[in-house]
């Protein structure tokens, strides 16, 4: 199926030494079968769980009296549970699948040390499950973005290491030695996550430093996990698929190089609000690094947009996902940088404005690019069968409309909330009243996103179920066919 398409975008296909023995795409996909099936199905289930928890959190904001007797679903617990389940259970886990597949395909190498991935994935899911229950039971660390309790950290770290080791071994023993743009980002992602998460887990959760350094570290993590883990993976996907589907050569390798290195140097600086209770130079550095982030954003955007410019004749079922991911990457990254600038930051920091932007980033860019990989890769690792085209289309439409509504409602609502708060003549309740209508509209968007996650999950699990049945039924038929023969013996 995939043999007709080149494994590598055209820019790399010239000048390869003839001596390299490359593993074929089929071999690679087959070597990833069990691992990707496990990662993708787990991620799709976590997407539904996170959507469900997020929906309850949304109800709590609209009807504050909803089921108040139950401590487990009070807003302060269910909201972090939902966002952590979405980040760790869905986004990062789907990211593992994307990472492993791209590392293998681009290196033309079958997966090394596959069993550690299987064990690591099980551990990771255990960690997310324990962590989500931990938050709901009241054990949150209260470090925003990092609420999973202390006892889940070792499970998650071990899980990551087992997956990361396999990715690294595969990368190191790759058959195609020359590196494509996407691989820089993949290598970065492999290292950045454990460095950031390890530092924060140790210095903020296990041996918390005193005073405001811990929330500063949490902000560093929140920022790092998106700019140095989710973004690099999403960008790697776009750099892989856009040349491949359009059949064009990547516009500029040098632009990509500049974008990558400036991202590496400026991506890991925390984003704190203006006026935070920390020394002023930290806030200044934050603002400066945000401005620097314009360089990778512009170079990557120009590179991708010029490459896909005017192309619309794709028959590929994943092209809509790629296109939306590209545009959402450009828009959400630009807005997120703008939101760090002093003027807008003062107005919107404590409002739902940032939530709208992050929804666009996470559901519009990150998830869309990961969905593209998942829809592309599942039929290939299964070797036969197709995912339901209509469910794929429904999933795409639900996600696109959901994220648009959430983004517009929360961004506009947050802006108005900030404006209401900034004027001390307004009573505080006025800011609450202003916000509540937008929370209701945002809830409808969230509902669509949740339905999208359900459709996606059904699509994936339905496909895997059918695949499993196709493996088992012929086997059983064979057993049955040989049964009488055995009996007669």
């Amino acid at each position: 199926m995939s043999s007709s398409t080149p494994t590598l975008p055209p820019v790399e296909s010239s000048g390869l030494p003839a001596t390299e023995v490359l593993d074929s795409a089929e071999q690679i996909d087959a070597s990833l079968r069990a691992q990707l099936m496990l990662l993708i199905s787990s991620a799709s289930i976590w997407g539904v769980v996170a959507g469900f928890l997020g929906l309850i959190a949304g109800i709590k904001l609209i009807i504050p009296g909803f089921w108040n007797d139950c401590a487990w679903i009070t807003y302060g617990r269910i909201q972090p549970a939902a966002s952590n389940a979405l980040l760790f259970g869905f986004a990062i886990q789907a990211g593992f699948a994307v990472l492993l597949w791209l590392v293998c395909r681009l290196g033309a190498r079958t997966l090394a040390s596959g069993w550690t991935v299987l064990v690591g994935t099980k551990l990771w899911n255990l960690g997310v499950l324990v962590g989500t229950f931990g938050i709901l039971s009241g054990d949150s660390t209260n470090l925003e973005g990092l609420e999973f309790p202390k006892y889940t950290v070792p499970i998650l770290v071990l899980g990551y290491l087992m997956i990361g080791v396999s990715a690294l071994m595969t990368f190191a023993s790759r058959n195609r030695r020359e590196l494509y743009v996407s691989q820089w980002y993949l290598l970065g992602a492999i290292f950045w996550f454990p460095w950031i998460y390890g530092t924060v887990a140790y210095l903020a959760v296990f041996h918390p430093m005193r005073g405001v350094v811990t929330p500063l570290l949490a902000a560093w993590f929140r920022n790092g996990v998106s700019t140095l883990w989710l973004s690099p993976l999403g960008i790697a996907v776009l750099y892989y698929f856009i040349p491949k589907i359009t059949g064009r050569i990547l516009y500029s390798r040098y632009l990509a190089l500049v974008g990558f290195w400036v991202l590496a140097f400026s991506g890991a600086w925390a984003t704190l609000q203006i006026g935070a209770p920390v020394p002023a130079w930290i806030v200044s550095v934050t603002v400066a690094s945000s401005i620097l982030l314009l360089i990778p954003l512009i170079s990557t955007s120009v590179n991708l947009l010029v490459t896909l410019n005017g192309f619309n004749g794709a028959k590929s079922n994943i092209w809509p996902f790629i296109k939306v991911a590209t545009y959402c990457f450009v828009i959400s990254s630009l807005l997120l940088i703008w939101a760090n600038m002093p003027g807008l930051n003062k107005l919107t920091y404590f409002t739902i404005f940032g939530d709208g932007l992050r929804a666009l980033y996470l559901h519009g860019f990150v998830a869309m690019s990961f969905f593209a990989v998942i829809y592309y890769v599942l039929p290939r690792i299964a070797l036969k069968g197709e995912l339901s085209a209509s469910l794929t289309k429904v999933h795409f439409m639900l996600t696109l409309s959901g994220v648009s509504i959430v983004f517009l409602a929360l961004a506009l609502g947050g802006w108005l909330q900030g404006t209401a708060l900034a004027n001390p003549l307004n009573s505080f309740m006025k800011s609450v009243e202003t916000t509540s209508i937008f929370l209701k509209i945002g809830f409808l968007g969230g509902l669509l996103l949740f339905l999208g996650q359900i459709v996606f999950c059904l699509n994936v699990l339905g496909f895997l179920g059918k695949w499993g049945k196709n493996q088992v039924v012929p086997f059983l038929a064979e057993v049955r066919a040989t049964e009488p023969a055995r009996r007669t013996k």
Binding site: I62, A172, A270, L421
Partner: protein
């Protein structure tokens, strides 16, 4: 030739740079900060007493940080100070006793950095004292009732109630001294009363312990003696101590009508 070792070194270097900047340098600057003595010779930030510490735990368990920040930005930043949320900005020194500091990123509810000393006229739903004599006990009750069901004290609030921090029980004989006084549609059925659990008391103790109003070198108080918030400090601060030592908060008859104390807000 493979460039991957070179890329790895680049990654390591760029990451180390941000590590030095965001992890190491702030720790170097702030790690040695310690409590400072105020004019009265008391350390600031002062140690939170037992109940306040337990209350902080309740605050953390229920994720209050999801809606409430605890930080005041400088004057001119979103009206934090004009709104009466503090008399000065908060700085790193204010958070030395917090594990972890609960700075927060959302304001679905008002900021709480100074809730322990905030005048009731600066509450999100303004409230006025019912009596002029026992304002601290009245504030304590206001907070308890607000925690039980925010709609009683602040109609239209989107804060959830925390009935699980309270016990509903049948009145045997006389009504308990510490039962919440609720009238109207939110009152329990006849013959029942709502009594705060220790968690609720701890939480209110914690809330009343929150203040960042000490004159610091890096965050001086604005000049001038006429500061409404500062005046409130003295009244509440003294009374909070009474509460901490006393066992029952509803003992004096003058302050029991919590519903009455919030009528101005409802009328507004």
């Amino acid at each position: 030739m493979s460039q991957s070792p070179l890329i790895f070194l680049g990654l390591l270097f760029s990451f180390a740079l941000s590590w030095m900047g965001i992890v190491f340098a702030p720790q170097l600057q702030l790690g040695r900060e310690d409590a400072v003595a105020t004019e009265a010779g008391i350390n600031y930030p002062s140690v939170r007493r037992t109940m306040g510490n337990q209350g902080e735990e309740v605050y953390r368990q229920n994720g209050c940080i999801a809606c409430h920040s605890q930080q005041v930005r400088p004057r001119g930043y979103g009206g934090d100070i004009q709104r009466g949320w503090g008399i000065r900005r908060t700085v790193a020194q204010d958070y030395l006793r917090d594990e972890p500091p609960l700075l927060g990123t959302h304001r679905f509810g008002p900021d709480l950095a100074n809730i322990g000393i905030r005048g009731t006229t600066n509450f999100a739903s303004t409230s006025a004292f019912h009596s002029g004599t026992n304002s601290a006990a009245e504030i304590f009750n206001w907070h308890l009732t607000h925690l039980y069901n925010p709609q009683i004290t602040s109609p239209g609030s989107i804060m959830p109630g925390y009935p699980y921090l309270f016990t509903k029980r049948q009145i045997t004989g006389r009504q308990s001294d510490d039962a919440l006084v609720i009238s109207g549609s939110y009152a329990p059925e006849k013959g029942y009363e709502i009594v705060p659990r220790p968690e609720a008391y701890a939480m209110v103790n914690y809330l009343l312990s929150l203040h960042s109003d000490v004159d610091l070198f890096e965050a001086p108080l604005p000049p001038g003696p006429t500061n409404a918030l500062k005046k409130a400090t003295n009244g509440v601060g003294k009374a909070t101590n009474n509460i901490a030592t006393g066992t029952s908060t509803n003992a004096s008859p003058g302050n029991t009508n919590v519903q009455g104390s919030s009528t101005p807000a409802a009328a507004k």
